[in-house]
């Protein structure tokens, strides 16, 4: 595995995790604003189970697709890193209750 391929693998892994982070932030934010209604997959845990399921789905599907996609084409690791950190920050903000209160 050369450096470029190795960086592509790392980029796919990092971007998939950040897409998952963004997904739970977005779903939590929209659910608090009553704009989406996450499914209740495990009744004792309520809608949190649905939010986590959506996050896992986005993360794993993104990981699968990106790892295949990045195998075939060269990616700019710096750009992917910047996009990933932006998505993570947005995800964190989406799960931060004071942000919900600003918009809610």
């Amino acid at each position: 595995m050369n450096h470029s391929t190795q960086n592509n693998t790392a980029a796919a892994t990092m971007l998939a995790a950040s897409l998952g982070s963004f997904a739970i932030g977005l779903v939590a934010f929209l659910a608090d604003l009553k704009l989406v209604n996450p499914p209740v997959l495990y009744t004792p845990a309520g809608s949190l189970s649905g939010k986590v399921f959506i996050m896992l789905l986005v993360w794993l599907v993104a990981w699968l697709i990106l790892s295949q996609l990045f195998k075939r084409k060269s990616v700019n690791f710096q750009t992917v890193t910047k996009a990933s950190f932006l998505l993570i920050v947005l995800g964190i903000l989406g799960t931060f209750p004071p942000v919900w209160h600003i918009f809610g």
């Binding site: 190795q6 960086n7 995790a17 982070s21 739970i24 939590a28 004792p44 845990a45 989406g94 799960t95």
Partner: protein, 167 residues
């Protein structure tokens, strides 16, 4: 106990070990292949253990702790000791522990688990190879972010547990 003290505690404590391994990678690269392989193997093991411990902590929280936290009291129940969510919301001085602390804990912790898993995967794919400085730097920042999230939420967990422990 398992959720907070054992698994999350383990994750917080081992952050320093992971950071040390990552920080020392360039030295290990310079010291030769044996040191390099040893150091990347350690980093991979530590980060995977951390990620697994955090996932276990979160699964325990989702399937055991959180359902107990949100049980609604029967009508007319005045003693809310065994109903933490309602105990916190009853008192305006402690309501923030639900509306802020628990709400953040419920959602934000999963981000730390995703990030740590990414770091572990990046570390294991680096075995027997030299990682670029840009990849090492990204891994270090991801570690710092997940450490920040886990520590912050751990602290909030201590506050919640002080006022409304789950029996």
């Amino acid at each position: 106990m398992l959720h907070g003290m054992a698994f999350t505690g383990f994750v917080i404590i081992t952050f320093s070990a992971a950071a040390y391994c990552l920080w020392n990678l360039p030295l290990a690269y310079a010291a030769g292949e044996i040191h390099q392989n040893k150091q990347t193997k350690h980093l991979s093991w530590i980060t995977w253990l951390m990620a697994i411990a955090l996932w276990l902590s979160l699964l325990i929280a989702l399937f055991i702790v959180f359902p107990q936290y949100r049980i609604a009291p029967p009508q007319g129940q005045t003693d809310l000791t065994h109903y933490p969510r309602y105990l916190l919301l009853k008192n305006p001085n402690t309501a923030w522990l639900h509306t802020f602390a628990m709400e953040a804990k419920e959602h934000m912790a999963w981000i730390a688990a995703l990030i740590l898993t990414a770091v572990a995967s990046m570390a294991s794919s680096s075995q027997h190879k030299k990682l670029d400085a840009s990849v090492r730097s990204a891994m270090a920042w991801l570690l710092i972010i997940s450490f920040g999230i886990v520590s912050f939420l751990g602290l909030l967990g201590v506050f919640v547990n002080k006022v409304a422990p789950i029996y």
